[in-house]
Amino acid sequence: MSTPAPALALRDVSKRFGAVQALDRSSITVRAGTVHALLGENGAGKSTLMRIAFGLARPDDGEIQVRGTRCAFASAADAGAAGLGMVHQHFMLVPALTVAENVALGGRGRFAAAAVAERIRAIGEETGLRLEPDAEAGTLPVSAQQRLEIVKALARGASVLILDEPTAVLAPTEARELLAWVRRWATGERAAVLITHHLDEALAVADDVTVLRRGVTVLARPVAAVPRQAIIGGMLGEGELHAGAAPLVHLEEPARGAPLVPPGAAAPAGRRPVLSIHEASVVDARGVVRLAGATCEIAGGEIVGVAAIEGSGQAELLRLLSGRLAPTSGTVSIPDEVAFVPADRQRDALVLDFTLVENMALRGAGAARGRVPWKAMANETALALEQFDIRGAGRQAPARSLSGGNQQKFVLARELSGAPAALVAENPTRGLDIRATADVLARVRAARSAGLAVVVYSEDLDEVLALADRVLVVHQGRVRAMAPDREAVGRAMLGAQ
């Protein structure tokens, strides 16, 4: 079969950072008219490979071809000129500028607002990515900011789009819409690369898949020609796949019996609630009602899953239950100490520049008196590192030096180190690779077995359903208890009856 030149090809690319061989002769070939999934665990080299493709890093060795022409990019601008566009996981927008100004930024010559606005409208017409050119970027919802990032690339004539974890910031419905858009867009001369570690997502839309493991391309095939197990095996390594059943926790059918009691807002009959809130409302500083008259009880030894579309009031619910927020009205009855794993661990759970011992001392720091027992803290930290199998860092290492997965495990370890009666976790597996995800979920289940009252929210509905004994659905500030039934929960999240 004679094939036209691929839209983008990287061959035998190597890259070394200090002592780490990030890429070792890895390759990827993106055919025109396809969506290409680039899969791999955290640290497998996915982002590095694409940063090289986009001119943000120089390869030590290997070559880049765009439509059959060999290229050497000195900068992202060069890559842009060659028809590549990249949407980063963390958006590169100037929040105070308008949509049109953001699109024009980095261009040459005069800024003609009307012409840019016209271009944005034309792209909207052509691709369906509609944006108001005069809107201020910072005021847009996240999904629109992402559209803006894509439009920026398209306005510069990108015909190959590289999307780095594009769905990480989106609600499930938004994610589906985005993926459907990518699928529709990548036709003819165009192509898209999805960097992801969400297997299902990738397989749903991709034509081809490339799997990296430790900087090496271990698999590159059309999706239709490769069984799912082989992809998982490629990501994890064959031996490891068969050694343990744990890695696929949230993809498996949850091993769970029928609910003990008919699901409701109350704790299971006969068990005393550990956490309970009654008619609690939260009104934010701008007077917006975030949570309206929420009532629920959670008993020891159960996992209550919270399902919601981002921004429905679930963040406030979790903070009420963990004592991190006082209700505007209503009552909250919780123990003095509730373990809390916030979604943004780097901002809310850790002081990145402090050592692990200091981060351990953070728990209960608000109420501590007298001297800090540093020796005891050091011992506690050592124990936590050992029990939670956090390797590669000493007690005196700064929290920044841990990988994302180890940071999350450390946060869990710290929060559980005080033997609390309850655990509240918000998006505990966000951004983690399969192995770290499995670890964290196993710890959450272990907390239930140890008799803790556990509340878990996840953006990933399947993860909530796989874990939860009962589900609380939050929609527009109202809380409803339900059985973990995918269909019903999904409808309730969207507000359908």
Binding site: R324, V351, D353
Partner: protein
């Protein structure tokens, strides 16, 4: 994980060497006799016990206390640029108390306490503005510096003016309101010992106690402080602000009680501004503030001698001081870029350079 870190000693020596080089270049460019100027600088700062004790350490004292004030505030993420105003408030109130209360053994202690309280109260104005109305303390404290400066100018021409109403200064403090000499026969007073004790106390509190840990956490990441530590970040920052003001106020009180013995409008040649440099040079480490205050005290004392003996304008030393700070900031930035994460984040907007001083 391996981390690249330049050793603090190597960095300090590099900075010292380049400072000296810069000084030499400036002197040569100005057509001065480099050798004579440098020897005047050194002998003025440390040429004799008297030069060191009565010159360098006396000048280091207010720099030490205000340097600690800045350190405490910056560690808590409070950008208090108002040590100068808090120092003046402390000096004014300490003078009033020293002159006003009946003479007794406690007069000097009362004056010191009053000075510290006045500095705290002056800082509290900015702290309340920040807490209640979100007013940036960088702006409010600078503004309050001018208010304090002008208030002192009014005081020494009004309520606190000396009885003959000729000079813009207060009456001289009675002996009971003065700080005794630390080393008999020199101008070095007990304020220096107080400053050293305060530095060790601040260092202990910061490293060992729960309150000091809270302060550092709030400065390093107020979000994690609130969520993970359940720390009332607003209250901690307020407390740090007020303690910072108290230390600066104490500097004013010791300056009046130990050096000038009266209130003048030109009491401080900008100690509260140099304090920012002193604190940053010490990398916000309370114990290192002692060393950096002595270094700055020495440079100032040496500058006076250089002007007197070699005819070099003392502002040359101000330029050197400012350059020193820029180099320290650049070095810590470089350190951070090279992967070291242990140094405290220094706010790049951390205040104006040492200003041109009236002498």
């Amino acid at each position: 994980m391996s981390r690249v870190r330049s050793s603090p000693l190597v960095a300090a020596m590099g900075i010292a060497a380049s400072t000296l080089l810069l000084l030499v270049v400036m002197l040569a460019a100005g057509g001065f006799d480099v050798g004579a100027a440098l020897s005047a600088l050194v002998s003025g700062a440390a040429g004799s016990p008297t030069a060191f004790l009565s010159g360098t350490l006396v000048r280091a004292t207010p720099l030490l206390l205000t340097g600690l004030a800045v350190t405490v505030a910056f560690q808590a993420g409070v950008l208090n640029i108002g040590a100068e105003g808090q120092l003046l408030a402390g000096a004014a109130v300490a003078t009033a108390v020293g002159l006003g209360v009946p003479a007794g053994l406690l007069t000097v202690l009362l004056a010191l306490a009053a000075g510290a309280s006045a500095g705290a109260a002056w800082a509290a104005i900015a702290a309340v503005l920040r807490q209640r109305f979100g007013v940036l303390e960088v702006i409010s404290t600078i503004m309050l510096n001018f208010v304090a400066q002008l208030t002192v100018a009014w005081l020494v021409r009004g309520p606190l003016q000396e009885p003959s109403h000729i000079y813009p200064q207060s009456e001289a403090l009675p002996m009971v309101a003065r700080l005794p000499a630390l080393v008999p026969g020199t101008r070095l007073h007990w304020g220096f010992a107080l400053g050293v004790a305060a530095a060790f106390a601040a260092s202990f509190v910061m490293r060992r106690t729960a309150a000091g840990f809270r302060l550092r956490v709030v400065g390093a990441n107020p979000f994690a402080a609130a969520v993970a530590g359940r720390i009332n970040a607003t209250r901690v920052a307020f407390g740090a602000f007020v303690v910072s003001g108290a230390l600066a106020g104490l500097a004013g009180a010791t300056e009046v009680g130990g050096v000038t013995f009266a209130l003048y409008e030109t009491l401080s040649p900008g100690y509260g501004y140099s304090a920012i440099a002193v604190a940053l040079l010490a990398r916000l480490d309370a114990r290192l503030v002692i060393l950096s205050a002595v270094l700055f005290g020495g440079l100032e004392a040496g500058a006076v001698a250089m002007q007197r003996d070699a005819g070099v304008p003392s502002v040359v030393v101000n330029v050197v001081e400012a350059t020193l700070i820029l180099m320290v900031l650049a070095a810590s930035r470089l350190d951070a870029l090279m992967g070291s994460v242990d140094d405290t984040t220094l706010a790049p907007e951390a205040g104006p350079p040492t200003r041109d001083r009236p002498r």
